[in-house]
Every structure is written in structure tokens, then in C-alpha cells.
């Protein structure tokens, strides 16, 4: 607790408060705009923040991450076009509420739910991180490898329509991850004699290509049928009944979102989907779901914010990014010469706890930014669509170029954008590509290191208790995915 209080001393300095405010404001804006997400925004700001104080920059980046989780719901509710993949579920009933003249209540339960979940999950982060740090030191290569196997199984079993397509995306990511010089032996792999590929494929460029470019091509090829922005109607005050129907989904959403965010399951899609399914099952009025049930907005919105905090647990304590945004945040840490992991809490205690403390403050800022000021964000949606997507392409290419100042990255971004479009056309999930690309090379290094330490003894993965437990969970999830009916998407 002393560490956290010291963190507040860091986060509450006027300069850091301002950076936090800048981050949360920017985050809300990119959350509201479809096509631009927190990963692209942080990537764009990376080269700009070289000379900034690391604490200030990371406070801003964390604010962007949290802010995008808040802002995405506004677009889902008023436009029926999710601003972020994490608010797809919110759109189902949130938009119906808006059509029924309850837009105000939908926005309110989303924002207050996000605040409640964000604050509780940040508290959970503050409590679990020190415990995870102790556990993390016991993590050897075998354990890291088992954890990554768990991630691969979870992301393919639980995301998307079919497991085959999930595996297809994951394998694509894994294959792309092998490109370049091998870190352990120095061999060039899958480079086809092209010098550019020796550097490997940067996850940041892939994230920009998959999400910003792929999305724009997809919209160009078919486009949403409805793009009418509904006005904010209905009081922003929720009725007593709406409060009564909201608070339990908030807490349940938090309880689902935080652990699933902490597990490497590919971001916020899965927790929001699960929250929706559980609320529907528990509701006394399941027939209202799909027609504007407030529980269906409250639960998933809480879940996506809680999962953002959950994602920070493996990122900060193990140096393990589990979503595209987390991967870019890892790059941000490394830019400042910081290696997230158990030792970071020891060496850079003030910075880590300052960033965590800033999340509490950021949540409070975001509640104000998103509730009374929601009218301002709605104005962003009045930008004509053609200009919006034109702007997204320009910003995306600027972001991709400035990461390494390389024109080759622009070509890679376009190629990955086409792949992202094809995946969408095949109805395959895109998140597993990122998970495979980020965790694949790490998993390979760990399996080879573990075998090297054990002198080639493969039983090392089942004789270490932690590793054996993680692998057992992976196998049971895979079997559950085969035998049980998979989690049906709502609707």
C-alpha cells in the first residue's frame, strides 16, 4: 500500500495530471472514432515522446487505453457502428435503447459502469500485481511456454465463429512472427533474400494494417447499411429501476472482465461476449435482450474496462503483452529502456505505481469527460464518413512510417491491410493474428531455452508443477471446446 501512496504522489503532480488528462481526452476521441484505436494512437505518439519523461508518457498512454474503452460505447449506442472491437456487444442493445429514446440512460449506464469496473479492476490490479511479481520470479522458460500455449488455445477456442478460422488466423500470426533473424542462433528465416525482412515483422505495423487499413477496405467494399447518428434523447439520469437493473451487471462484468483480461485471451472481445451471455441467462426478462435491455449495456461495458486493467497485470509483471494495445505499450516501455517484468517493480517502483495511481485518477476524469460532456463527442460523429476514412488512412500511414521512418513499412502495412480485409471476408477473427505474432517468437525462444536448460529433456514441461497445471488447463479448454457447445454469440 505504501508503494501505491507513493504512486499517488507521483501521479498527482500538476504536470502528470495534465498528461493524464491529455491521454484520457485523446483516448475518448479515438474510442469514439471507428477505425482508429488505442494501438494506432500510441504507435503514432511513440516517436513523439522520445524526449518526454517516461512516467509522463506512460501515464498518457495508459489514459489513452482506458479512454478508448469509454469512448467506444458512445459510437456503439448512437451509431450502431462499434468504435472499438471491445464495444461490438454494446451496440446490440445500446443502439436499440437509443432508438427507444433511452440513449441518455444507455450512455449513463455505460459510463458509470465503466467507472465502477475501471476503479474496482484497478484496485484488483494494485492488489494482484505485487503477488504476481513474486510468482513471476518462479516463472522459468517452461512455465512461460505453457502460459503461451494456454493463450493460443484460449484465443482459438473462444473467439469467432469457427475454430478452424481461429487457428487459421493464429497460424498466420505465428508464421509472420518467425520472419527475420532468429534471436537464439542468428539464422535468417523466411526472409527470401529480402534485406528488409531481416528485421522481422513489427507488430505495431501489423496492428495498424489489420485494424485501420483492413477496416477501411472492408467498409469500402460493403459499408454499414445504417449510418444515422441518433441524437442523445432521454435524460442522462437513470431511473431508480435502471439503477437497480444496472449495478449487479456492473459487478459481474468486472468479475468476468478482470481475470479474462489478465489471461492472454486476445483483448476485450471475449469478456464482453461472456458478460452478455451471462446477463441474458440470469435475467428475468431474457426476451428483452436484443431489444434494448439495459443489463446488456451495463455488463459488457463494465467487462471491457475491467479487462483493460486485467491486461496490465501480465504486461507489467511478466512483460507479456496479450492484446495489440498491450504490445504497443510494451514497445513504449522499451523505448524508455524499461523492461516490464518482476524486476521493473523493484527498479522503477515510483514509475510503475505512479502509472497505476494515474489509472484511478484517469477513471474519475473519464466519468466527467464522458457523461456531462458526451454532447461534444457526438459532434465528432458528424464528420462525413468519406472524410473520416480518408483521414484514417492518412493517420495510419503516418503512424506506420514514423515508427522506423521506413517506406518499406508502408508497403507492409498495405499488404497486411489486404490480409485483414480477406480475413474479414472469410469471417475469421483478426485478434489471433496479433496474439500469434506477439507471443509466437517468445514461445519458440522459451521452448528452446527450456530444452537447453533441461538438456533436451521434454518432460520438463510436465514435471514443473506450474507448467504442468497450465498445460492441463489448456488441454481441458481445448477438449471443452471440442465436446461442449461453444459459447454461442448472442442474438
Amino acid at each position: 500500500m505504501g508503494d501505491l501512496l507513493a504512486g499517488f504522489a507521483v501521479a498527482l503532480t500538476p504536470a502528470n495530471l495534465l498528461w493524464g488528462l491529455a491521454g484520457t481526452t485523446l483516448g475518448t476521441a479515438v474510442g469514439v472514432l471507428p477505425g482508429i484505436g488505442p494501438a494506432l494512437t500510441v504507435a503514432l505518439l511513440l516517436p513523439v515522446t522520445y524526449n518526454l519523461d517516461p512516467t509522463a508518457a506512460l501515464i498518457m498512454f495508459a489514459g489513452i487505453y482506458y479512454g478508448a474503452m469509454y469512448g467506444g460505447s458512445t459510437t456503439s449506442i448512437l451509431l450502431n457502428t462499434p468504435g472499438e472491437s471491445s464495444t461490438i456487444v454494446t451496440a446490440i442493445d445500446g443502439h436499440q435503447m437509443a432508438r427507444n429514446g433511452r440513449a441518455g440512460a444507455a450512455l449513463a449506464t455505460a459510463a458509470i459502469g465503466s467507472f465502477v469496473a475501471g476503479t474496482l479492476a484497478t484496485l484488483a490490479l494494485s492488489l494482484t500485481a505485487p503477488l504476481m511479481v513474486k510468482l513471476a520470479l518462479a516463472f522459468g522458460s517452461a512455465e512461460y511456454f505453457a502460459l503461451m500455449v494456454l493463450a493460443f488455445v484460449m484465443v482459438t477456442t473462444m473467439l469467432g465463429e469457427s475454430r478452424l478460422k481461429g487457428w487459421l488466423s493464429l497460424l498466420l500470426g505465428l508464421t509472420l512472427g518467425f520472419v527475420g533473424i532468429d534471436g537464439l542462433s542468428g539464422h535468417a528465416r523466411f526472409t527470401f533474400g529480402i534485406a528488409y525482412l531481416l528485421d522481422g515483422i513489427d507488430p505495431v505495423i501489423v496492428a495498424i494494417g489489420l485494424f485501420a487499413i483492413g477496416e477501411t477496405l472492408w467498409v469500402a467494399s460493403r459499408g454499414p447499411a445504417i449510418d444515422e447518428v441518433l441524437p442523445v434523447r432521454g435524460s442522462l439520469m437513470m431511473t431508480a429501476e435502471e439503477w437497480a437493473r444496472s449495478w449487479r451487471p456492473w459487478l459481474r462484468g468486472t468479475a468476468i472482465g478482470f481475470p479474462l483480461g489478465a489471461l492472454p485471451a486476445g483483448g476485450a472481445e471475449l469478456p464482453t461476449l461472456m458478460s452478455y451471455a451471462i446477463e441474458k441467462r440470469l435475467s428475468r426478462r431474457p426476451e428483452e435482450f436484443g431489444h434494448g435491455a439495459i443489463e446488456a449495456v451495463a455488463g459488457p461495458e463494465a467487462a471491457n474496462n475491467a479487462s483493460a486493467a486485467g491486461t496490465l497485470v501480465p504486461l507489467l509483471t511478466l512483460g507479456l503483452p496479450t492484446s495489440a494495445t498491450a504490445a504497443v505499450l510494451l514497445a513504449a516501455f522499451q523505448q524508455f529502456g524499461l523492461q516490464p517484468g518482476p524486476l521493473l517493480f523493484e527498479h522503477e517502483s515510483a514509475l510503475v505505481w505512479g502509472v497505476i495511481a494515474s489509472l484511478y485518477i484517469g477513471n474519475a476524469m473519464l466519468l466527467v469527460l464522458n457523461l456531462p460532456l458526451v454532447g461534444l463527442w457526438v459532434k465528432l460523429l458528424s464528420i462525413p464518413r468519406p472524410w473520416l476514412y480518408g483521414g484514417i488512412l492518412v493517420v495510419a500511414s503516418l503512424g506506420a512510417f514514423s515508427v522506423h521512418r521506413s517506406a518499406g513499412d508502408l508497403l507492409l502495412m498495405a499488404a497486411i491491410g489486404i490480409v485483414g480485409f480477406l480475413l474479414r471476408a472469410l469471417d475469421a477473427p483478426v485478434a489471433p493474428v496479433m496474439i500469434g505474432l506477439i507471443l509466437g517468437p517468445a514461445a519458440e525462444q522459451h521452448v528452446r531455452r527450456a530444452l537447453s536448460i533441461s538438456q533436451g529433456d521434454w518432460t520438463v514441461f510436465v514435471t514443473h508443477p506450474l507448467s504442468a497445471a497450465l498445460l492441463a488447463i489448456s488441454v481441458s479448454i481445448a477438449l471443452w471446446g471440442v465436446f461442449a457447445r461453444r459459447l454461442a454469440p448472442p442474438g
Binding site: Y50, G183, R189, F190, D199, D227, G390, Q455
Partner: protein
């Protein structure tokens, strides 16, 4: 008229007034020795050259050859780029058969030398080097050594050590990490028997009592470091890990001299001297022809050592039932991927995906624009290419008949408006990034 002229000047010559930033590539993970050298330089330069922005760019892996490849490839002729290098990279290039080598760079200065330490966790059963060596002699495979990239100084030291005590170099169970800093967690967590790296990389944990130093690789005792040399423990071996600064190829003589002068100033500054002392780095400053001779001699020495160790073929695992080579996993994964792709293609062609022709034409137009973008970006500059991209995207999306209710027909007027908005947006971004935030973008032309 004058205000417009100055505005045009601002747009056309964005970089003229900005002092050129310096980017120092550290071809290793943060926390490693090259990273520490680069960051120490960054701090000292901030003091002796105020107003010049100095950035450190980490490009980790493969004994620095990944960073070397990127440095030679993308910084050619750039006098604002430097890279930290050293013994590890010189040997890595040979071991890895890297397509690029240090000969492709412009050597500027050798800065420091550092000696290696062998450390164990404080809780280790090995109290002295002798005890570790005894266990090593008894069962070489049971002692796992961790350190930087395969074939680096750390790896070399352990293999030379093995030879010195009469074991074949190939018997060493060496576990490579991206750098000494990355091996730290593994040795503290007890997964490794011992770790080998530069003193500075472990200095914090040694001072905190978490690591115990068993030996140092210098010829004589170092002041301030409480550790016996290898020679004191009866092993006739010393090894220094030198670090130098190189510039990209294709610099003019004047540019090379200017960089050398800046490094000389850096090395002479009091702040640099105190940095050396803090990190336990020996001052081995060297420039010009003597530096080139040194690099040639070191290259020869390393090749000789490596041939004797035949380290390239020596890393054959001892009892591996199934051998993992660098290419076995990638090839397997790629094969399964192609299989899954074929299967998906087979299953989805039966349920035909409906696309409207107009929409596909739009997407194809956008893809074409995006594929042409890299060329436009470098030849026409950011503003012109972004304006065009914006206009093409907006026009394309506008042309969808069923897209918006006020379906506008394409006219010269809407295209002109799109171009105008795109230009305004691109110029605003360009000014924001180059002037406001100090990020270099390809110029107006």
C-alpha cells in the same frame, strides 16, 4: 505578400532551422551493456550539446546483427545516426554468417572496455569459482550457464573456460538470452546455475546482495570490484569486452571528422569520466587509423578463437531425443498454416460470399492507392502523397450509390473539395509533427 512568402518558406524548408537530432542505435534489449552505453552517451551529450535531441533506439537480438542489418540498410549516408557495437557483434557476424558485417559501417571511436563477471544467485550452493568448476568438471551438462547471444563474449568466455580446464567447448550447456539484462530474471529465479555478463549489467544486484560474483575476466583485480580474477583461481584466461561507436556507410570525410570530433569531446568531458567510474568501465578511447587496425586485429583474433572452438558446430545438444533446430518450428508451423488455409478455402468456396461489384471496385481502387503510397511517400513527400490518398479514399467512398442518403454524384466540385480538405489535413499534420513535435517526415517535394 511577405506573410504568405514566409508561410511558403515554413512549408518548404521545414528542417532547415531544426538542429539535426542524433539517433543512437543500441542493438540489444534494454538493460544490456550496449543499451547502457547508448544511454550514458545520451545523458552526457544532453549536457555538452544542449539543444540537440538525442534518441536511443533499441533493436535487440542475434548478437546485434539484427540491429546492424537495420542500421546499414536504413541509415546509409545519415550523419545523424550512430550505433553502439563491440566484440559481441564482431563474433556474432562470423558465427551467424550474417549477410552484413561491421566492415559495412564507418568506425568512429572505441569508447570503453568492460570485463566479464561470473555470478550465481546469493542462495546458490556454489560459494567459489572452484566449487562451480568442480561440479562443471564432474557433469558438464548439469551446470547451465546463461548470458547474451550465442557466440557473444559471454558464450566465448564459458567455452574458453571449458577448454582451459580440459573439457571440450561443445560440452557447455549455454543458454542464450537477448542480453545480460534479460538473463538476470532467469538467474535470480534459480533457473540457471550461473550467469556470465559484463559487470555493469549485474552491478545493481551485486550491490544489493542478490548475486555473488565468483570471478572477473580481467588480467588483474579491478578497483572497486570485490572479485578474484580467473588467473587467481588458476585459469590462464582473460577477455575484454570492448565497445565502440560506428556511423553508417556513405558518409563524407567531413561528416566522419565532425562525428569523431564530437566523440572526442564526449570522451574528454568530466561527466563521461564519472559515468565510466560509476559503471566500472575502463577508458579505452581510440579513433582514426589505430582504431581501424585494432578492429582488423580483433576480427582476426575472434576468427581464430572461433575456429579453435568450432563453436558453430559445437552446440550439438547432448541427449536430445528430438532436436529443435532454428528452422524446424517455423517450417512445421508454416506447413500447418498452409494446410489450414487450404481447408478454409475448400470449405468457404462452397458457401459463396456475396460481394457487390461496385464495392469490390472501390476496395481495389483503395488497395492500388495504398500499394503506390510507399513510392509516393519518398518521391513526392508526405503532404502531396497524403493529400492524394485522402482524396482518393474520400472520392471512392463517396461514389458508393447506396452508401449515403444524399448520394452525391461525382463532380469536379466534390473532388476539388476532397482535395482541399485532404491538403489542409495533411499540412496540419505535417506542421504538427515536424515543427511541433520534432519528427522528421519526407519533405514537401
Amino acid at each position: 505578400m511577405t506573410s504568405r512568402a514566409s508561410l511558403i518558406f515554413l512549408l518548404f524548408f521545414p528542417a532547415v532551422t531544426v538542429a539535426q537530432p542524433l539517433v543512437i542505435t543500441a542493438p540489444a534489449a534494454p538493460g544490456g551493456g550496449w543499451d547502457q552505453t547508448a544511454r550514458a552517451m545520451q545523458r552526457v551529450l544532453a549536457e555538452i550539446e544542449p539543444g540537440v535531441s538525442v534518441q536511443v533506439d533499441n533493436v535487440p537480438g542475434a548478437a546485434g546483427t539484427i540491429g546492424l542489418a537495420r542500421f546499414i540498410q536504413s541509415e546509409r549516408g545519415n550523419p545523424g545516426a550512430l550505433m553502439v557495437t563491440g566484440l559481441v557483434m564482431a563474433s556474432g557476424v562470423i558465427l551467424n554468417g550474417s549477410p552484413v558485417s561491421l566492415a559495412g559501417t564507418t568506425p568512429i571511436a572505441r569508447l570503453t572496455a568492460e570485463y566479464e563477471v561470473i555470478v550465481v544467485p546469493a542462495s546458490s550452493r556454489f560459494r567459489s569459482l572452484g566449487e562451480l568448476i568442480d561440479a562443471f568438471k564432474k557433469d558438464p551438462g548439469s551446470v547451465s550457464w546463461g548470458g547474451g547471444s550465442a557466440g557473444g563474449t559471454d558464450d566465448l568466455l564459458v567455452r574458453l573456460l571449458a577448454e582451459q580446464i580440459g573439457l571440450p567447448a561443445s560440452s557447455v550447456n549455454y543458454v542464450a538470452f537477448a542480453g545480460g539484462g534479460a538473463a538476470l530474471a532467469a538467474v535470480l529465479g534459480g533457473q540457471l546455475s550461473a550467469a556470465v555478463s559484463g559487470y555493469a549489467e549485474f552491478a545493481g544486484q551485486i550491490a544489493a546482495g542478490q548475486l555473488r560474483v565468483l570471478a572477473i575476466s580481467s588480467a588483474s583485480r579491478m578497483s572497486g570490484i570485490d572479485a578474484p580474477t580467473l588467473r587467481e583461481s588458476g585459469i590462464a584466461l582473460d577477455l575484454s569486452n570492448w565497445r565502440a561507436i560506428v556511423a553508417p556507410p556513405g558518409l563524407s570525410d567531413a561528416e566522419e571528422e565532425a562525428l569523431t570530433a564530437r566523440m572526442t569531446k564526449l570522451a574528454a568531458s568530466p561527466k563521461w569520466r564519472s559515468t565510466l567510474e560509476q559503471n566500472g568501465w575502463a577508458d579505452e578511447f581510440l579513433t582514426g587509423p589505430p582504431l581501424r587496425q585494432f578492429l582488423l586485429a580483433e576480427q582476426a583474433r575472434i576468427e581464430d578463437v572461433l575456429r579453435r572452438l568450432s563453436a558453430t558446430n559445437s552446440r550439438a545438444p547432448t541427449t536430445l531425443a528430438v532436436t529443435l533446430t532454428p528452422s524446424s518450428l517455423p517450417n512445421a508451423v508454416a506447413m500447418i498454416f498452409l494446410g489450414a488455409l487450404a481447408l478454409t478455402a475448400f470449405t468457404t468456396t462452397r458457401q459463396s460470399v456475396a460481394f457487390d461489384r461496385q464495392g469490390m471496385r472501390m476496395a481495389v481502387a483503395l488497395v492500388t492507392a495504398l500499394l503506390a503510397l510507399p513510392i509516393a511517400f519518398v518521391t513526392a513527400g508526405f503532404v502531396a502523397s497524403s493529400t492524394l490518398l485522402f482524396a482518393i479514399a474520400s472520392t471512392t467512398l463517396r461514389a458508393r450509390p447506396e452508401r449515403s442518403r444524399g448520394a452525391q454524384s461525382l463532380s469536379a466540385r466534390t473532388i476539388a473539395i476532397d482535395l482541399f480538405v485532404g491538403a489542409a489535413f495533411s499540412i496540419a499534420l505535417f506542421l504538427l509533427f515536424t515543427r511541433g513535435l520534432g519528427v522528421m517526415l519526407p519533405g514537401f517535394f
